[in-house]
């Protein structure tokens, strides 16, 4: 079985470093691709732009998607992913700072599989990332291609 990739869409380098550290601490050693804005994330998923020579059938196991992103925001990324046949069933976990009800509602309406708020306490953050990894990479069965 091929190495399961995680697509982390995150513009804040501190959060990126902390997330990667948390993944590492949770013994999640998968290949992690980081996209730093919405456009880059879509390019990766749809194999366009700088990712045009990627194999379109090689989809990540899970996308960890921030909501506030430069260029195209997280909700729009989610909408486009769900609009595309090839990616409509791709597991997408919203990983964000916000606990605003509107954000949560919009995420679920647009087809997010899960909504996780990043805790400030790093111990809790590691915990959360660990559980996410365990669930989406080990327990969860991916949809048929």
């Amino acid at each position: 079985m091929a190495q399961k990739t995680i697509l982390l869409v995150e513009d804040n380098p501190d959060d990126e470093a902390l997330t990667l550290r948390a993944l590492r601490k949770s013994k999640i050693l998968n290949n992690i691709v980081v996209a730093r804005d919405g456009v880059e994330a879509l390019d990766y998923l749809f194999c366009t732009g700088s990712y045009s020579d990627r194999d379109p059938h090689d989809l990540p196991q899970v996308v960890l998607l921030d909501l506030k992103l430069p260029k195209i925001d997280g909700l729009e990324v989610l909408r486009r992913v769900r609009a595309e046949d090839r990616t409509q069933m791709l597991p997408v976990v919203i990983l964000t700072s916000s606990k605003e009800e509107l954000d949560m509602a919009n995420a679920y309406i647009n087809g997010a599989n899960s909504y996780v708020r990043k805790p400030v306490d790093f111990n809790q953050f590691v915990d959360a990332i660990g559980q996410l990894g365990l669930y989406w990479l080990v327990l969860n069965e991916v949809p048929p291609q």
């Binding site: 700072s97 400030v120 790093f122």
Partner: protein, 542 residues
């Protein structure tokens, strides 16, 4: 003379053959001596003062011609049975006497005199035949009495009619005077100035309110042109408009849709409303103009317009403020927390990766950095909660407060299984409120009671309601915990205000601020009473 003018009470006499013979005998004697009898009669009645007038008044005194006609009518009645012309004539005579104001009693005297004057001639004529004398006298009496009764009826009828007419005239006069009085009364009691104008545009009547509002005295304006009350700029058109009104006078407001102004004696103008009504009088059509000073109404309208405009602007500002607040909350929610995560995360990384290179102080400092970051994160969350409470829509419905308190206590008991608290909840207190928001209130108040009674050996919490005259239904949550000093009661509901240190009791001081917002959004009030170490009671209305 038409027959119909005869009084229905007069019926031509029914005379039998015997009476007719007597009547004709009488007539023959009277006609033979008419001049002597009549001459003597005139002499005699000249002695009756009431009748002298009749003698002297030629219009009433029959001319020779009329007398001849009278004689002829009488003769034809007696000899040919043609009573009607004779009776009509008698009727007319009675009428003219009555109209001349002749006393009816005088007539009686005349007729008695006449009877006496005729009698000697009858005696002389029928001296030899007493039966004929008796019949002729009876016939004469029949004629005289019949004539008397016709004239009498006519006289009375006319008198009655005259009295009726006079009464009507008097009544009409009284009514006219009364109407005048009523009109003046109405004019004076009218709430607004009233000006009565004739067809030339001259003022002929005003009321006291006019004097008050326009500053003129009655005598200043009576006879003046109504134009003195109209701004100069309207002088040119005003007579034309007035002319139009007189062509089609009816009750209507003046210049509907136009802004009208009156001019005070001192020259100042004020906005007015005028209603016109025509008044048909003996002096031609007059126009009554009721003038209402609407300065005050205009001012009020202007104020209302301004207030509405202000209100609209405020609503716009409020909406903008709300949008801004939402944008702010959104930004706080996302952006303010990220740096805190960095501070905490990298402090942790430092501790984990380089912990051995630091001494206890260094590690302690990093722990303090982390604690502060986490606390700030908590503060941000609480502020966001507070702002959410303010922004959330209010959906009030009947809500069972008692069962919410029961659930909250149950949760607290599960979280702190070792606490033994005597909880008393008045059952089934239902209030019209937003169930989600009121739950936040009760959670805060009950957890406070739970928290601040934790050091008590026998903790007690009570939820109930009081019926107060001033406040109506007042709900309360009481505990026997540490209480507070009433000197600081004003700080209780402030944001991040605390009466205890975090080491004494955990918390950051946002709960009661949220409680107060929710209660005031329900249109209620919340307040507290307490004393150090004697517990606290929180009251609220909805």
């Amino acid at each position: 003379m038409d027959k119909s003018t005869l009084s229905p009470r007069i019926i031509p006499p029914e005379i039998n053959a015997e009476e007719l013979r007597g009547l004709q005998d009488y007539w023959d004697v009277y006609e033979a001596h008419r001049d002597e009898i009549f001459g003597e009669l005139l002499r005699r009645i000249a002695q009756i003062p009431e009748f002298r007038f009749f003698i002297e008044n030629t219009s009433l005194h029959p001319s020779a011609e009329q007398q001849r006609e009278n004689i002829e009518r009488q003769r034809r009645a007696i000899y040919e049975g043609e009573w009607e012309p004779y009776l009509n004539n008698l009727w007319e005579q009675g009428k003219s006497y009555a109209q001349a104001g002749l006393d009816f009693r005088s007539w009686f005297l005349v007729v008695s005199a006449f009877r006496q004057l005729v009698r000697p001639y009858l005696l002389e004529a029928y001296n030899q035949t007493p039966n004929r004398l008796l019949d002729a006298m009876t016939g004469g009496d029949i004629l005289i009495e019949f004539a008397m009764s016709v004239i009498g009826e006519s006289y009375l009828d006319t008198k009655e009619q005259l009295i009726r007419e006079r009464d009507q005239k008097i009544q009409a006069a009284i009514e006219r005077e009364h109407a005048d009085e009523i009109f003046r009364g109405l004019l004076e009691t009218a709430p607004d100035p009233v000006v009565v104008v004739n067809s030339e545009g001259s003022i002929i009547l005003v009321n006291t309110q006019f004097e008050r509002i326009f500053g003129y005295l009655r005598d200043d304006v009576i006879g003046q042109s109504v134009d003195i009350l109209v701004p100069t700029r309207f002088h040119q058109q005003h007579p034309t408009h007035r002319g139009h009104y007189y062509k089609e006078p009816r009750v209507r407001p003046m210049g509907s849709g136009l802004e009208l102004y009156g001019v005070h004696k001192n020259g100042s103008e004020f906005p007015v409303e005028i209603s016109l009504s025509p008044l048909d009088t003996a002096d031609g059509i007059l126009v009554t103009a009721a003038i209402r000073d609407i300065s005050e109404r205009k001012q009020v309208e202007e104020q209302i317009r301004k207030l509405n405009a202000d209100l609209e602007q405020r609503a716009v500002q409020l909406e903008a403020a709300n949008k801004e607040l939402e944008a702010f909350s959104y930004s706080v929610s996302h952006d303010l927390r990220a740096p805190l995560r960095t501070i905490d995360g990298f402090s942790m990384a430092l501790l984990e990766d380089y912990g051995e290179k630091l001494d206890d102080d260094g590690r302690n400092y990093l722990m303090r950095v982390r604690t502060a970051a986490q606390r700030m994160s908590q503060l941000i969350d609480d502020l966001l909660n507070l702002s959410r409470v303010t922004r959330a829509p209010l959906n009030a419905e009947p809500t069972n407060l008692s069962s919410i308190v029961q659930r909250v206590v149950h949760e607290l008991q599960q979280t702190n299984p070792d606490r033994i608290v005597d909880v008393s909840i008045m059952p089934n207190l239902v209030a019209e409120s937003d169930p989600r928001l009121i739950k936040v209130v009760l959670e805060n108040l009950v957890s406070n009671a739970w928290k601040y009674s934790s050091k008590q050996e026998f903790a007690r919490i009570e939820f109930g309601v009081l019926e107060e005259a001033v406040n109506g239904r007042v709900y309360f949550i009481r505990d026997n915990g540490v209480g507070f000093d009433m000197a600081y009661v004003n700080k209780l509901f402030g944001v991040f205000q605390r009466l205890h240190t975090s080491s004494e009791f955990a918390g950051i001081g946002i709960g009661l601020a949220i409680v107060q917002r929710i209660i005031s959004r329900h249109g209620g009030r919340v307040w507290a009473e307490g004393a150090p170490n004697e517990g606290a009671t929180f009251y609220f209305t909805l």
